[in-house]
């Protein structure tokens, strides 16, 4: 992900997110994606606390799909899944809204959306559906380091601690 942006396409066009509108729109995508997950997770927390019983059932129902072995293994821990799903959805959402630990949170989002995409609805709306688009949004957050634009990661990355441990930018950003 450290490709030279000035010559990336060999067409004379550069690509820099530091441009005003580009940075603004990457930040908007990040906050809206974060709200999407926060709303989903926090709603579950309000509804059933850390006991979202549908989560293990959903995972169990994924047997026979591409991610079936992973999902059914996870379904073997029903209490843990019932607690972690709403909790992580909420935390991922908050992290994206604040732009803090954006890449780490987005990785979590990719895991969630992979399970949603592969397990949901039998592709009645096509293989490229809204779940797949959500998955791509989280990958986009990682590639663009979206937390650096109007997000807290911009400040955290300038701290002495991160400067002396530069690999942390792969979790921040």
């Amino acid at each position: 992900m450290s490709h030279n942006t000035q010559t990336a396409t060999n067409t004379g066009f550069s690509f820099q997110v530091s441009g005003t509108w580009k940075a603004y729109w990457v930040a908007m995508l990040r906050v809206l994606t974060g709200w999407w997950f926060f709303h989903s997770g926090f709603g579950k927390l309000l509804d059933s606390g850390l006991n979202f019983g549908y989560a293990p059932m959903y995972l169990e129902g994924m047997s026979g799909t591409t991610l079936g072995p992973v999902a059914t293994f996870m379904a073997g821990f029903p209490n843990l899944m019932a607690a972690l799903v709403p909790l992580f959805e909420t935390l991922i959402g908050l992290a994206l809204i604040a732009g803090l630990l954006t890449r780490l949170a987005s990785f979590g989002g990719v895991v969630f959306m992979s399970l949603f995409w592969v397990g949901n609805a039998g592709f009645s709306h096509g293989l490229v559906n809204s779940d797949f688009m959500g998955l791509l949004l989280f990958v986009t957050m990682i590639v663009f380091a979206a937390g650096r634009y109007y997000g807290l990661d911009a400040f955290v990355e300038q701290t002495r601690f991160v400067q002396s441990n530069p690999k942390l930018k792969y979790l921040l950003g």
Binding site: M1, S2, Q16, G126, L127, F144, G173
Partner: protein, 95 residues
């Protein structure tokens, strides 16, 4: 070396993504009904046409693409950060 790994990761993940979504999608469409990844049913709910390509194959190709990206990210975490020549400007995108 890093640039080669970058290109390998991009070509491999991009190729798998396009194969799983676009190429197989085109084959699915040209192969006739149901045109999409879901089986076609009649009013009684009976399957009257199944997809030409098992959607599990297509999702597996996309998951493989994501796995390539994950392996690339692990590679970046595991190897020392290289200073690129002539990059005095602050990181602006995905460094």
């Amino acid at each position: 070396m890093t640039d080669t790994i970058d290109k390998l990761a991009m070509y491999l993940s991009g190729g798998l993504l396009l194969l799983g979504v676009v190429v197989t999608g085109l084959i699915e469409t040209l192969a006739g009904k149901p045109y999409g990844a879901a089986p076609q049913t009649n009013e009684a709910g009976e399957v009257i046409a199944s997809p030409a390509i098992d959607p599990n194959i297509r999702t597996a190709l996309v998951m493989a693409a994501l796995l390539v990206m994950l392996l690339y990210a692990i590679y970046k975490l595991a190897t020392p950060i290289e200073e690129e020549a002539g990059t005095a400007a602050p990181p602006s995108t995905s460094d």
